[in-house]
């Protein structure tokens, strides 16, 4: 009776656990984690209920034991899922770290402690995370692996039997040992033979598929490297499709409903959850390549990093040093040092010795400290330095900044003391815009390759609507892990524009809409708004959401939403100001929109917007360019440019 009563809870518990395991294999870690916990919760409740009502002896039934065992397994899996979750969270965490690590003290910590300096994960770890994702799915065992498992079991039973034997039964022990050895050997030999046969088959099949791919691409006589690549991909796709059923199922589904875009979404998410699929392999590879490039550029160029997020006063002090030739070398040395820490090169010692005192000075504002630094410079440079130093106004710095940034030949005389590699690094630093351009091109190429591989795998995707859908999903997968680093590079390149934007914001943060040319009927009169709020706040809030997303399309949606909100707010304000006007005669045109948008940008207090928009400009789809998205982005850019220009001169009107 007890057994039957327990049967239901046991089955329920197993169902729950099953759901969790399924989620786990789909890489939905968080959901899986919750489900595991739910199963445990359910089991303990069921057992508790049972225990309270039963007598002592009847509590631990066979089913109860099974349930306890299940709970134990669930707990184990929940633990491992939790670690996976923790790893995933590192990505957003990197974003959070961005600001704190830029505090002035940070550099000092670096020079003493030798801690990792960049707020970004080094490429090695990035790659490991990619692989970790990959390993989440179960793999089929090879014959050899299977055999070794079998042998382990045999050994376990053997040991159990030995333990039961009397010391006197030595003969039996020997025979057991011998039979174990024989069995294990046999298993291995069989497995080896199976493995070889399998390998031969795989090889044969590869050749056959390769021929098939060759036939498909044989139309052109001489192959370009691109075609060659396609051919290789095609072979791997054929191979994959033979090993797995799901591509075939999806193909027939797509054929039945070629216009159903939700199928495309389903298929793509299926591909993305299969790390072994050629598309995913290529995605990981290309992603890693770009991440690696970005990482080395960004960590080399870290010198200008601090400039971005400082208050104007602090920017001035750093900018001052930045404009000096020697300080340039400090930054570079530092990045070199980072390299050393990673690569364990021998130079480490000498570089850190020379850079230590300089880095100490890095944050110094006082004249005396700066004087110390001049020991390392020749006379000519000293004069430049003191000129800058005495007249520390920001305007002068602005003149100096481009001057030095644009002159790679004006390298520090320190170069005589430092290795040649360092020179190369600083030279490269001066050409960030070009490096950014290359990266952008790489990314476009990568996404193009991914898309064409997708279409190669599923030919039914080869129509405009499906392609678009495909592209959107691929982009999201591609950009999300690399966006923070990519944006960091954009910010380095657009640093001067961000600074201008920031200055304008500092100067005009208390501006009213009318000061920037918004018609008085398009914002509430002084008395009406509740305190703490300002006009168009909803649009400002929406606009700031842009940093929360990691792929261009989502960011673009943010901007579109912000502009729509502006129009809604404007209409509301106008209706309350002039209730009589008809709906259409006073609709918002660009003449009204841009001043309001400029006001919203100014209120956002978010200089990063400059770089975000510059990045969007690079990655917006061609098809969106002439549509609403393109219009919104263009208007945003225009408003930003206007805000940037505000601090330079005169009345904003």
């Amino acid at each position: 009776m007890v057994g039957s009563a327990m049967a239901a809870p046991l089955q329920n518990a197993m169902k729950l656990a099953n759901v969790a395991i399924q989620l786990d294999t789909q890489n939905r870690h968080k959901d899986a984690y919750c489900e595991y916990l739910k199963s445990i919760n359910y089991i303990s409740q069921a057992l508790l209920d049972e225990a309270v009502t039963q007598d002592g002896t009847e509590i631990v039934t066979a089913d109860a034991q099974k349930m306890l065992k299940l709970a134990e397994q669930c707990l184990e899996r929940a633990k491992s899922t939790a670690t996976k979750l923790g790893k995933l969270e590192e990505k957003p965490a990197a974003l959070e770290q961005h600001r704190p690590t830029c505090k002035p003290g940070h550099r000092r910590v670096l020079s003493d402690g030798g801690q990792a300096t960049s707020p970004f994960l080094p490429p090695e770890i990035f790659e490991k995370m990619q692989i970790a994702d990959t390993q989440n799915t179960k793999k089929e065992l090879t014959p050899m692996e299977e055999a070794s498992r079998l042998n382990q079991k045999l050994k376990a039973t053997y040991e159990a039997r030995l333990a039961r034997l009397n010391p006197s039964q030595a003969m039996q022990k020997t025979s057991l040992t011998l039979s174990l050895q024989r069995q294990m050997m046999e298993n291995l030999i069989i497995a080896k033979a199976r493995q070889d046969a399998l390998q031969r088959k795989v090889e044969e099949r590869r050749l056959r598929l390769q021929e098939e791919a060759n036939r498909r691409f044989s139309s052109s006589a001489c192959l370009t490297s691109e075609e060659q690549e396609q051919r290789i991909f095609y072979t791997s796709i054929l191979e994959y499709d033979q090993d797995h059923d799901w591509p075939r199922n999806w193909k027939s589904k797509l054929k039945k409903n070629p216009d159903d875009l939700s199928l495309v979404v389903g298929l793509l998410s299926c591909i993305l959850s299969c790390p072994e699929h050629p598309v995913m392999k290529l995605l990981k590879k290309l992603q890693y390549r770009i991440y690696n490039k970005l990482y080395s550029i960004v960590s080399r160029a870290n010198c200008s990093h601090n400039l971005v997020q400082k208050s104007p006063a602090h920017v001035a002090s750093i900018g001052k040093q930045h404009s000096m030739k020697a300080s340039h070398s400090i930054h570079c040395m530092q990045s070199l040092q980072e390299n050393n820490q990673m690569n364990n090169e021998k130079m480490k010692h000498s570089v850190s010795v020379t850079s230590l005192p300089l880095i100490e000075d890095y944050n110094a504002n006082t004249d005396s400290r700066v004087q110390q630094q001049t020991q390392h410079m020749n006379n000519q440079e000293t004069s430049t330095l003191s000129a800058v130093d005495k007249d520390g106004s920001f305007e002068d710095l602005e003149q100096f900044l481009p001057q030095f940034q644009g002159q790679p030949e004006s390298l520090p005389n320190l170069s005589s003391q430092i290795p040649g590699e360092f020179l190369v690094l600083s030279l490269e630093n001066d050409n960030l815009p070009q490096q950014l351009k290359d990266i952008v091109k790489d990314i476009h190429n990568s996404i193009d390759r991914l898309l064409s591989l997708c279409i190669l795998s599923f030919e039914t995707l080869n129509n405009a609507a499906a392609k678009d859908q495909c592209l959107a999903i691929l982009e999201e997968a591609f950009f999300t892990p690399i966006w923070t680093l990519l944006l960091a590079l954009f910010r380095k390149v657009y640093i001067n524009r961000e600074l201008a934007f920031e200055r304008s914001m500092a100067l005009y943060k208390n501006m009213k809409p009318c000061d920037i040319g918004v018609k008085s009927k398009l914002f509430p009169s002084e008395s009406s708004p509740p305190s703490g709020c300002y006009p168009y706040e909803a649009a400002v809030i929406e606009l700031k959401q842009i940093s929360k997303f990691c792929c261009p399309q989502k960011k673009l949606e943010c901007i579109v939403k912000a502009l729509r909100l502006i129009c809604e707010c404007a209409e509301e304000y106008r209706n309350s100001n002039e209730p009589s006007t008809s709906h259409t005669s006073a609709a918002i045109g660009a003449d009204d929109l841009l001043p309001i948008l400029s006001y919203v940008a100014l209120k956002s207090n978010f200089p990063q917007l400059v770089s975000e928009c510059a990045a969007l400009e690079e990655f917006i789809h061609e098809g969106y360019l002439i549509g609403e998205e393109g219009y919104c982005l263009t208007s945003m850019q225009s408003a930003i440019a206007f805000v940037e220009s505000l601090h330079k001169g005169g009345a904003p009107k």
Binding site: L563, T584, A587, I588, G589, L593, G623, Q637, S638
Partner: protein, 221 residues
């Protein structure tokens, strides 16, 4: 500049038209009139009169118009070029009672020709002909100027809804012609258009063609 649409057989075109003109010349009313005129006013998008779209059917050819309003104020002109890049047509509006607004049109014409060459179809529009009594820009002068720069001249009244439909219809026809001539010049390169995508098209030597070439197919977003 046009793109093959998804539908079999008949062509479809996507055109971008920028709307230029000083603050008070009535360009917003003009475009609103055009887009809301018939049937219903659902044409007004969520961005109101700043950005409007209209679908047309001209002689069996489907045309999607995207009409970009621009700010008339001088201080927003620094980024003018990013507004009118990739445009197929431009409507330059002046107020016939305001000589100054006509001078502004002349400036824009120069800039557009400089940036976009002869690919772009220009329309110079004298608005507010309901106020003909206060006219300050002579008809001959305006039409003569338009002809001299290869633009067409139109007279409209947004208030009376006069001349607007004709203006846009004419512009669309001209844009189709330009697009067809462009296709012919490219030599029936229909194959490449099908498979080539963005990355390939962003070559520096013809930036103004890049966007429209991918345009029609991507309107889903």
């Amino acid at each position: 500049m046009a793109s093959g649409g998804a539908g079999g057989g008949s062509k479809s075109y996507s055109f971008k038209v920028v709307l230029l003109g000083e603050g008070c010349v009535g360009k917003t009313s003009l475009v609103l009139r055009y887009c809301e005129n018939k049937f219903n006013d659902k044409h007004i998008t969520t961005l109101q009169a700043s950005f409007l779209t209209k679908k047309l059917n001209i002689g069996g050819k489907r045309v999607n118009l995207a009409i970009w309003d621009t700010a008339g104020q001088e201080r927003f002109h620094a980024l003018g070029p990013i507004y009118y890049r990739d445009s197929n047509g431009a409507i330059l509006v002046y107020d016939i009672t305001d000589e100054d607004s006509f001078q502004k049109v002349k400036n824009w014409v120069k800039e557009l020709r400089k940036m976009l060459g002869n690919e772009i179809c220009l329309c110079i529009v004298g608005n507010k002909i309901d106020l003909d009594k206060e006219r300050h820009v002579a008809i001959q002068e305006a039409e003569g100027y338009a002809e001299s720069v290869g633009a067409k001249h139109y007279h409209t009244s947004a208030k009376l809804n006069k001349g607007i439909e004709e203006l846009f219809l004419d512009l669309c026809k001209r844009m189709i012609e330009t697009a067809q001539a462009d296709e012919r010049a490219k030599g029936n390169g229909s194959n490449q258009a099908g498979t080539a995508r963005r990355g390939v098209q962003i070559v520096d030597d013809e930036p103004q063609n890049a966007a429209a070439a991918g345009g029609g197919c991507c309107s889903s977003g």
